[in-house]
């Protein structure tokens, strides 16, 4: 990886390979892992024995820390956030932490306010409003 001292997610410096990699929100991971777990339940009597500890801990974590459970809502969250010219990483941090105010959103993802990017406070406010609507109608 290119210079580990340089890594700083708050400035979106996470290495080329990860900027291009697809990031997943907790709620998306929850859908995928739960689906896998259900498949295992059908073929095995003791599905927890069939999965690695890493899988088990991750499943517990994403179930607890997903703000959106319904697959349609999960899809909508990504769709709405995709309209705002965010990097994959930023999109997922916002989708995971669900900030309630513009100030909080900037604290969670400082890189959205860096120079040359088109996010003024109004755009961020609109984005948070759009997101809060999904939560209400879920």
């Amino acid at each position: 990886m290119s210079g580990e001292e340089e890594e700083n997610a708050s400035e979106l410096k996470i290495g080329e390979e990860f900027l291009k990699a697809k990031c997943l929100m907790n709620c998306e991971v929850a859908l995928i892992l739960e689906h896998k777990y259900e498949q295992l339940q059908q073929t095995s009597e003791d599905p927890m024995n069939q999965v690695s500890q890493v899988f088990e801990k991750s499943l517990q974590y994403v179930k607890r820390f997903s703000r959106y459970k319904n697959p349609d809502a999960v899809r909508q969250v990504r769709e709405i956030l995709s309209r705002y010219q965010l990097a994959e990483f930023e999109l997922c941090v916002l989708g995971n932490l669900c900030p309630e105010t513009v100030e909080e959103a900037i604290a969670m993802v400082p890189s959205i306010k860096t120079k040359g990017r088109a996010h003024d406070d109004d755009a961020i406010e609109r984005m948070l409003n759009d997101l809060s609507l999904i939560k209400k109608f879920e």
Partner: protein, 176 residues
């Protein structure tokens, strides 16, 4: 952050599994890939290996002359979890010590929050020791904390990551 990454691994299949009938060989290759993926646990570049989502391609096998095993290059997508410096995450406290607390977050268990990185919190000793600030906000076992990652370290021998985290910043701290 959970990542969807494409990787190419060499999967080794022993000769007795080389059954040409139907999808038996394919199945043997995929089963072996899933086993390898689970037992490898993590690596430095991509973090923890959680799940194989799709097998994209299985290349031509090469026979290893010494053993007769066949080695297949397999491309697949999988989900991994890696923590980045500067990333903000939520974790759960699982151990309280005098000089700080340990948190877990996803597959990572060794996340240390030192008392130096939460200066307004004071240690309160007792059977169930905890940290508390002057607004009565408590950091104790099973509490969810929002933190920022200040450093990560890959430990090759254990195949685990350690992380140091901090509460210094806006909107960080315990979440009720």
């Amino acid at each position: 952050m959970f990542l969807k990454v494409e990787q190419q691994w060499n999967v080794i299949v022993s000769p007795e599994k080389l059954v040409a009938k139907g999808l038996m060989l394919q199945k043997a290759i995929v089963v072996r890939l899933l086993d390898d993926f689970a037992s490898k646990k993590a690596n430095k570049d991509f973090g923890y290996f959680i799940n194989v989502t799709t097998v994209e391609n299985i290349g031509d096998g090469k026979v290893r002359h010494s053993t007769g095993d066949v080695l297949f290059p397999v491309s697949f997508s999988g989900i991994t979890f890696k923590m980045f410096r500067g990333e903000i995450l939520r974790g759960v406290v699982h151990k309280v010590l005098k000089h700080g607390v340990f948190l877990k977050c996803g597959p990572v268990q060794n996340i240390y929050l030192s008392h130096l990185k939460m200066p307004d919190y004071k240690y309160v000793p007792g059977e169930n020791a905890f940290f508390m600030n002057d607004k009565q906000s408590r950091i104790e076992k099973d509490v969810v904390v929002r933190f920022i990652v200040i450093g990560t370290k890959w430990m090759e021998a254990e195949r685990e990551f350690q992380a140091l985290v901090s509460l210094e910043g806006d909107y960080l701290g315990p979440i009720s």
